[in-house]
């Protein structure tokens, strides 16, 4: 029996060793030449019946058959495949980073513009014209896409991808709940205090969480973009200004104090929800079920979450157009926002890049240009309208949707963008942790001290502003 046990020991040690080694890689790829049958692949964090369903449906039902037919007319045998994903953005990012690191991945990859910097620095993606050839710079679409929108997927002055659209963030509120709480249906708060006052009125309603302001690491970038940053620009500060990242400043203190007021002092938000593994999706479900009064979200929420159209929204609200109000995000006090603005917002941008490992990069560019043609965007917006990167398309379609017209006309002129720097995603994680610390009961002083420590680890002592 001893012998037996010892054999098991050896096996166990081997098992343990194997268990502790988490890093392996694999590669290996081959494909036909330009004349034979060619397969191109597209990937995005979109899936039919789930996340970003409208985009997934458009790719499978319009882009693929149309492009294959167009190629057939040119005498090329091209098959296009779509690899859908429907997961949290952080998991999707990890997946495509690992794909690209091992020299694999789809030919066309959808990604958040803010990842472009770190992916480019890692050498995972290359400037579009390096990959797609001369056809890239001569593309007609560039004239239609404003510079600011192109910048969302550019890095160091080079275009790395074609932007997919523009977005803006607003405060959504439930008009039914507002009426029950004696608040106006046509609401435009002018300071943080007015939002808090409305929250206190909503708190009297049974089973209602007055305010959902994203916090915590579980929600990932959503916490930064729909929480920390829109509040920070409301104090007149930016996350990155004059070569320094925001540290222990008055603005950061005000933002964390606001979190403390909402989640700890006044109990206007659900602090537990911020820590749940799928808290953001749950917050969507709760808003759709009339259980959340005020929610800060992007126009994505309007288009892809509470959209009542069948198979489009992940938490559809049949009476969305009647019940859901939207209003600009106020600065801390009138005039205290960046550029002395009364109202503020944040914008991001997603786009699609070419995989440098593609076997058919020029054909992949043809497909990417095709996906961003005027016809493609018109087809994309037949079902659900979103703000496209192309001004020629926006001029025609946006008037059909009052919410997107509002974002385009009222929000985009006052919005701010994240710095296109490789360090940003790590800084963002540190900010999420600071908000999590505050909502789970840590004092603002301690949370800020921890934040500044990790910030210094990321960017160095000299690149941090504040005391």
């Amino acid at each position: 029996m001893i012998h037996h046990a010892r054999r098991k020991t050896v096996a166990a040690i081997a098992l343990a060793a194997a268990g502790a080694l988490v890093f392996t890689g694999c590669s290996g790829d081959s494909n036909g030449d330009e004349n034979g049958p060619v397969t191109l692949t597209i990937t995005a964090n979109a899936i039919t019946g789930g996340k970003n369903a409208a985009e997934a449906d458009w790719v499978t039902d319009w882009v693929i058959p149309q492009f294959e037919d167009a190629m057939k007319e040119e005498g090329k045998d091209v098959t296009v495949e779509f690899e859908p994903q429907g997961v949290d953005d952080e998991n999707y990012k990890t997946k495509i980073a690992l794909d690209l690191q091992s020299g694999e991945g789809a030919d066309i990859i959808g990604m958040d513009g803010i990842w472009v910097g770190e992916f480019a620095e890692a050498g995972y993606i290359k400037p579009l014209s390096d990959v797609g050839g001369d056809a890239v710079d001569g593309w007609e679409g560039w004239d239609q896409i404003p510079e600011a929108v192109q910048n969302a997927v550019s890095f160091d002055g080079d275009r790395y991808g074609v932007p997919q659209g523009a977005d803006g963030r607003v405060l959504y509120y439930n008009k039914d709940l507002f009426e029950q709480a004696g608040l106006p249906a046509d609401w435009q708060p002018e300071s943080w205090d007015e939002v808090i006052e409305a929250g206190k009125a909503l708190k009297k309603l049974d089973g209602v969480t007055p305010i959902q302001l994203n916090a915590g690491t579980a929600m990932g970038e959503a916490t930064t973009m729909q929480g920390m940053l829109p509040m920070l620009v409301g104090t007149g500060e930016q996350v990155y200004e004059e070569d320094k990242w925001v540290g222990d400043t008055d603005g950061m203190r005000d933002v964390l104090d606001l979190y403390k007021t909402i989640y700890v002092d006044e109990g206007l938000g659900d602090a537990v929800l911020q820590q749940e593994a799928s808290g953001r999706d749950t917050s969507f479900q709760m808003f759709a079920a009339n259980q959340i009064g005020i929610l800060l979200e992007g126009d994505y929420f309007w288009r892809s979450v509470i959209n009542p159209e069948e198979g489009v929204g992940t938490a559809p609200m049949a009476n969305r157009d009647d019940v859901v109000g939207y209003t600009k995000i106020p600065a801390m006090e009138p005039g205290s926002g960046i550029d002395d603005q009364d109202f503020v917002s944040m914008s991001g941008g997603t786009g699609r890049v070419l995989n440098p490992n593609s076997d058919h990069p020029e054909l992949a560019w043809d497909l990417l240009a095709f996906m961003n043609s005027k016809e493609a965007y018109e087809a994309r917006n037949e079902g659900t309208i979103s703000i496209t990167p192309r001004t020629d398309v926006n001029d025609e379609i946006l008037s059909e949707d009052p919410m997107l017209t509002y974002v385009s006309e009222e929000v985009l002129p006052i919005t701010a963008y994240r710095p296109p720097l490789a360090a940003y995603p790590q800084v963002s994680t540190a900010m999420q942790q600071a908000s999590l610390d505050v909502v789970s009961g840590t004092s603002v002083d301690d949370a800020l001290a921890t934040y500044v420590d990790s910030l210094k680890d990321i960017v160095g002592d000299d690149a941090v502003s504040g005391d």
Partner: protein, 310 residues
Amino acid sequence: MTASTTTPAGSLTAPRRRRADDVAGLGTARAGIFVAPALTLIGLFLLFPAVWTIWLGMTDYRLTGLQAASPEFVGLDNYVEALTDPSFWNSLWLTLVFVVASGIVGQTLIGFALAWSVRNIHGWVKALIEGLVLAAWVIPASVASFLWLVLMDRRSGTLNGLLGTDGYAWLIEHPMEAIILFNIWVGTAFSMQLFSSALSAVPPSQIESAKMVGASGWQQLRDVIIPNIKGHILTNTLLITLWTFNTFTPYLVTAGGPNGKTEILSVYIYETAIPGGQLGLGAAISLIMLLINLVIALAYIRVSRGRKKG
């Protein structure tokens, strides 16, 4: 205990035990050919990744950014960073609590208690109990974790439905307790099976003798059963310890949260290396984890050698 040599009957002097150098008569070269495939596999899939991990752990390699393209050698910086980081020690402490509570105490004791209580039962009752316990072991981890998520869900969970505690977030308020219970539920079947077979190997004559002299159930357990199955207990404890130490399944239930409260070492490494992107630091902590594994295994070998001599 069973490793003694059998002496041929009738021989007057027992031959001195001597280890044969070449029992099969192959010679070194031919023996080498036979073990070469195995050694190649071990080298490729065990030694090479281990050496690779050691090297990675001494660089600032990251998943993205500049350090992904050209990682730099940083010596022992990663080890210093890990060992001076309170969150590493917190993670190690959580792992210790997790191993002791869910592995050593939970799985071993409950597994033994189950094996002990069903040892004299036969027929369908025994089959049913064993079947139920084994089901938890057989169900794929992803399915099992989903069952537990549904059980403890805050809004529509079964547990809240049964207890009438609607809206209580078990996974947020009691995260460690939740993954400890989860791991006991998943893993008890192994201990139960192992102890079942161990108990059936205890000579019935010894138990009968104990009963004859009036030993109580507890005395039988202490003086007859446990001395007989000591080896099994040791093996079981080692395996359970290593498995529990290395398990990643709790991640599927709590994802290390809330706020790192269930970040056991395997989850901590994953969070650091993959979503956190710090592959170099992750490799360094992996190596620390590997060393802890070796220490556990060596301690076990010491104990079993000591037992053999005694």
